[in-house]
Symmetry: C2
Subunit: 155 residues, 2 copies
């Protein structure tokens, strides 16, 4: 099992590196209650000390499925397919997904997904507290005055 | 400018498709206040009706930089580098990032990034309300009893 690499950190940030998404099988997730090992899955919230989201990444090998449906108590989930293709299912409705597909699911949606292709499928999941966003607030961000300085020249 | 495709939706979910990440330049984001067009950038929160996060995707062509630093009022950000490589900067500290790098930044961190390579760099950003997560709660999810049924057979 490969360690997740620390890149850099400071008062206001932490940066880590998972490696290329094709290599996610180098990582494993041990379910803390069930003690099951899930190869190719990794959660990053604890390492990054996130306070608004939990984020996980997972590689499903060809012709494999997440073998159960699940729901949430309080969390909205957003799934993003990063590589490959497969099928998604919510409340019994099935649909094809592929690189660039993004799916938002309410806590009560019964969800699962599978890789029914011959190539690896990589996806990520964002968990957040449903209803926690005040507004759609790209206006939350604001520019800092002054020139951007870099410590290395552009190539 | 290419339309973002709707895939499927139901009472508890919405699924959309952005297309392959290499093709993000087909999309544009028009800043609602500044009326500036940013090619290769797209926000998905409104389309997905998210309530806990805003999510955006952006392609930076070779040797281009986000030309300003920015901070946030209330949002934590998580950046994920999806393809290629470049450099990130927070509070004056610069570091290299590449596919698989994940960076969490507090609202007050002064941040920017650039693509100093010869290949496109694709990244995504998750905005959430800092401090909104009660716990690191993979335990928020729970399995639904019964067998998973799919409407198509595995290949």
């Amino acid at each position: 099992m490969k360690e997740i690499q620390h890149i850099s950190s400071g008062a206001n940030y932490i940066a880590i590196d998972l490696g290329e998404f094709d290599q996610l099988m180098d990582h494993s997730y041990i379910h803390p209650k069930l003690k099951q090992e899930v190869k190719g899955k990794v959660f990053v919230g604890e390492l990054l000390k996130t306070t608004g989201v939990e984020v996980s990444f997972q590689l499903l090998p060809p012709e494999t499925a997440v073998p159960f449906l699940h729901k949430h108590k309080a969390h909205e989930e957003v799934y993003i397919i990063l590589k490959g293709s497969g099928q998604f299912q919510v409340d019994g409705q099935c649909f094809d997904v592929k690189e660039g597909s993004v799916i938002r699911i309410d806590p009560e949606g019964e969800r699962t997904l599978r890789n029914n292709s011959n190539n690896p499928m990589v996806f990520m999941v964002i968990q957040s507290m449903a209803g926690s966003l005040d507004q759609h607030l790209i206006f939350d961000g604001y520019r800092v005055k002054g020139e951007v300085k870099w410590d290395k020249e552009l190539l």
